[in-house]
């Protein structure tokens, strides 16, 4: 089986600071990958390089057999990479339904020709809101949402683009245990539908229960990659997290 995402030796610098230093990573179709690392280890930079928000300086990103280097973020979204943001970034002036309408109009519509009628579009919005438990709030504004609902909206909007790969960047930070369970269950459900997921998270219990494989970034380098149980026992990983 060929990998869905193939990150080949990419590097990224900000001035003199090396944020990513020769990262290689492969993700198989349908896989659930956990990506962990201390603050400032380059996780979000890696996500930004995969999604096209930032351009890597060396190496290349292959997705679904195509080279993605040099493509703008929206073109990568069209090809099937979706992401949620670490801090939710909803469209503040739009209702929840309209927030989901954007990826439907600009990505799904562009990909598969005219997205049927406006009625189909509305139906699709509500189906998604329903799936994420937000159906009752479809006409409300993002500012009326609670923190966990905001995270769900962020994921719902990423899912509206009908991606092959979903990158969830710390979608559980600051949530309570039951809320974390809630989001985890959602992510597992999405995965069961065949969507490959990369989960970036600090909450170890969540990462451990979710991931089939775990990769660890420290100071822009990947120091471990393998079965979650093995990785957390890796002496280098322990050292990075707990110090010597």
């Amino acid at each position: 089986m060929t990998a869905l995402l193939h990150v080949d030796n990419i590097s990224k610098r900000f001035g003199g600071f090396v944020a990513l230093d020769g990262i290689a990573l492969e993700v198989e179709p349908g896989e659930r990958l956990g990506l962990i690392g201390p603050n400032g280890s380059g996780k979000s930079t890696l996500v930004n390089c995969i999604c096209g928000t930032l351009q890597n300086e060396t190496g290349s990103v292959l997705f679904d057999g195509h080279v993605m280097d040099g493509l703008a973020a929206h073109e990568r979204t069209h090809r099937g990479v979706a992401r949620s943001f670490q801090l939710p970034r909803p469209f503040h002036s739009m209702t929840l339904a309209d927030n989901l309408r954007i990826p439907l109009l600009y990505t799904v519509h562009a990909r598969s020709g005219p997205l049927r009628s406006t009625g189909d579009l509305d139906a699709r919005c509500h189906e998604l809101l329903d799936m994420f438990g937000l159906a009752k709030k479809s006409k409300q504004m993002p500012r009326d949402l609670t923190q966990v609902e905001m995270r769900k909206l962020e994921l719902a909007r990423a899912m509206a683009a009908e991606p092959k790969l979903l990158i969830a960047d710390e979608s559980m930070a600051g949530l309570s245990y039951s809320e974390i369970e809630d989001i985890l269950a959602l992510l597992v459900r999405l995965n069961e539908r065949g969507i490959t997921i990369i989960l970036i998270e600090h909450i170890m219990s969540a990462v451990m229960s979710f991931s089939q494989r775990l990769a660890v970034l420290v100071s822009g380098k990947k120091i471990a990659d393998g079965k979650p149980e093995d990785v957390v026992r890796d002496p280098e990983v322990v050292r990075a997290y707990l110090g010597q």
Partner: protein, 317 residues
């Protein structure tokens, strides 16, 4: 209501205005009305970029002047009927808008506003030094008294008034159509969050360029008949602060998120200015704009439309 029926209604309203003006038979009404209509077009054009996309353009006067000066140029080079000049003005200012967009849209907020202001200064300097269109002395355009069309004699100022009325209807219909289209949603995502917009698949650069081009083209359209209206065009008046300030203040006062805002703002502020010009002095114009802008920023930051929407929302609860 779809765009077609809206256009029909807008045209009917336009015809009613025209019938009223005709019935009044007052030249002054055409003069004053022309200015107000011109500001409806200008503020609607500004709102496409400033209101829908959230990019504040301080260089509206430059786009307006480009339209006016392309008419002056054509008048000397190869005289054409004014409606054709409107199209030429739109093309010239549209190109300038596209260029400005390409050069400056990586800038956001105040930096974008400063860049547009700088562009206006550069273009004004170019025009001042361009002898063919009159340079700093300005250019005279002698307007014929009447226009003969198919055996009919039409008062020229009435003709310009009708032309501007048509432009206003076109601008409003376009802006309203955009608001409800995929493009309108794209504009709104740019106003809200460009990074999230890209992540949702919105080609932000392309969408922004469409906005700057459209906005510029409409401003050019508003400017093209201006030399014929005013009779004598000089850089200071075409690039006047009045245009830049008014095209920002009018949508702000009316409300920037909908096509109604610029219309309401332009009628309100435009009429107030015309009234002040006649009763007090023309110099009071900008003072009125300034005071109203300050008042609205404090009392109704979302403009009159925002105020009405808020009121309706409260009543619903």
């Amino acid at each position: 209501m779809n765009t077609l029926s809206f256009s029909v209604i807008a045209t009917a309203v336009g015809l009613a205005v025209l019938a009223f003006a005709h019935w009044l038979g007052l030249d002054y009404f055409y003069f004053a009305g022309y200015t107000i209509l011109q500001f409806i077009v200008l503020s609607t054009a500004w709102n496409i970029l400033g209101g829908y996309c959230g990019y504040v353009n301080f260089g509206s006067a430059a786009f307006f002047a480009m339209g006016a000066y392309s008419s002056v140029f054509m008048h000397k080079f190869y005289p054409l009927p004014v409606p054709v000049l409107v199209v030429i003005g739109a093309v010239v200012s549209g190109i300038v808008g596209f260029g400005m967009g390409y050069l400056t849209l990586r800038l956001r907020g105040a930096f974008f506003a400063i860049a547009t202001l700088a562009m206006a200064v550069v273009l004004q300097t170019l025009v001042i030094n361009w002898e063919y269109v009159g340079g700093s002395r300005g250019a005279y355009i002698i307007r014929p008294e009447n226009l003969e069309v198919a055996g009919l004699t039409i008062n020229y100022i009435e003709y310009l008034f009708v032309l501007m009325l048509i432009l206003a209807v076109v601008a409003l219909a376009t802006s309203r159509a955009i608001e409800r289209s995929q493009l309108g949603f794209g504009f709104a995502t740019i106003r809200d969050d460009e990074l999230a917009a890209e992540a949702c698949g919105v080609p932000t650069l392309r969408v922004k360029l469409i906005a700057t081009t459209l906005s510029g083209a409409f401003m050019g359209m508003a400017g093209a008949p201006f030399p014929y209206y005013i009779g004598y065009l000089q850089p200071q008046s075409a690039f006047g602060l009045e245009y830049a300030v008014n095209s920002i203040a009018m949508p702000m006062i009316g409300g920037t998120t909908s096509w109604v805002g610029p219309l309401v703002g332009a009628i309100l502020l435009g009429s107030a200015q015309q009234y002040a010009t006649v009763t007090i002095s023309s110099a009071v114009n900008l003072l009125i704009v300034g005071l109203m802008l300050v008042a609205f920023v404090i009392i109704a930051p979302n403009g009159l439309i925002g105020l009405v929407q808020e009121y309706l929302r409260r009543r619903q609860r």
